[in-house]
Symmetry: C2
Subunit: 201 residues, 2 copies
């Protein structure tokens, strides 16, 4: 199955990249190994290819998920802690994290496959649980990264449906994250539009 979370990697120069990532995990909940599938056009791909390590985070922080999905400034700046066994950073606001190294790579397709193994892991706090608003933000974030492929009208119809759930079952943070994504979809595409930033993730 696919677990949506956030990945941190470093460029060869040591620049931090924070990007949403939906690894494929096995039935074993311990996540000793899992599979990352970044697009080859992404910064995540380049960093994994160059360094072969990073940190995957399970989180319910939908504001950070929304911000990283569309490549806007991270406000508030996420708290960072150095990883223990890899060169990289742990998001202090995450629920759980997995420091990993790449054991196998296959980049023949547009979407590469990196099999990774967990070297260290930790729990920072509990995941809230099933909240329909937070999940609606996750769905909205996926839609917001598809403005280049899907008709804008179709995305907006979907967002309208999700907005009802956010209003009914969420709080102010969920509303803010959703608004950010909605505004991103409404923004007219330009020569320097943010989709290029998102594509880099």
């Amino acid at each position: 199955m696919i677990l949506e979370g956030i990945l941190t990697t470093l460029s060869p120069e040591g620049l931090l990249n924070i990007a949403p990532m939906g690894p494929k995990i096995g039935p074993d909940p311990s996540m000793k190994t899992f599979e990352l599938r970044p697009y080859r056009s992404s910064t995540t791909y380049q960093n994994l290819k160059a360094r072969g390590e990073g940190v995957f985070h399970v989180t319910d922080d939908v504001l950070l998920l929304a911000q990283t999905a569309i490549g806007v400034p991270l406000i508030p700046a996420p708290e960072l802690r150095p990883a223990r066994l890899v060169a990289g950073w742990i998001l202090g606001g995450a629920c759980r994290y997995f420091e990993f190294r790449v054991t196998d790579a296959d980049d023949r397709a547009d979407r590469a496959r990196f099999t990774v193994e967990t070297l260290a892991e930790g729990r920072l706090r509990d995941f809230l649980g099933f909240n329909r608003a937070r999940h609606a933000v996750v769905e909205a974030a996926i839609l917001a990264t598809r403005t280049a492929f899907l008709p804008r009208a179709e995305i907006l119809t979907e967002l309208q449906r999700l907005a009802v759930i956010v209003a009914k079952t969420g709080g102010p943070v969920e509303a803010a994250a959703f608004r950010l994504l909605h505004d991103h979809v409404l923004k007219p595409p330009g020569p320097v539009h943010l989709d290029s930033t998102a594509a880099r993730s």
Copy 2:
């Protein structure tokens, strides 16, 4: 915000009732107090009214959520442990639990409001995290309990959309839970149909 989970209560005779419940929680993630809003026609309402206590569970067990939503037999039977500070039972397969007692009740509306305070709590295992398939099952469970109010065709259209997400991001358990809900919606309503069981929750 609303947190979807599962509630266990006891009848005056000591019969266990397991039902989905979406309490209203405050911004404090510790959940020292929260609000339950069962329909007055439900068994949960009667049990809370009579005994004033129970156990709320945060869980990502979507099969149990689906089964309790539509009132079908619980297979496999959930593991149960006696609660410590209230007369009741803890679901051993849950992620976290909150034993509570009612501190205030308002049952003037069709949907009653019980303010409760947590007496004891515990963590049994980690919540997986954002998985689109599990969340699609939660949405499907909500739809499946609305067959009496919403046009069947509308529910089936929504389920079709959710089925794609379940197939793409879930495993066999998510598929089984979804199938259960889908079959429930397809079942022709009869004089002894299961909606009455669901309404009792």
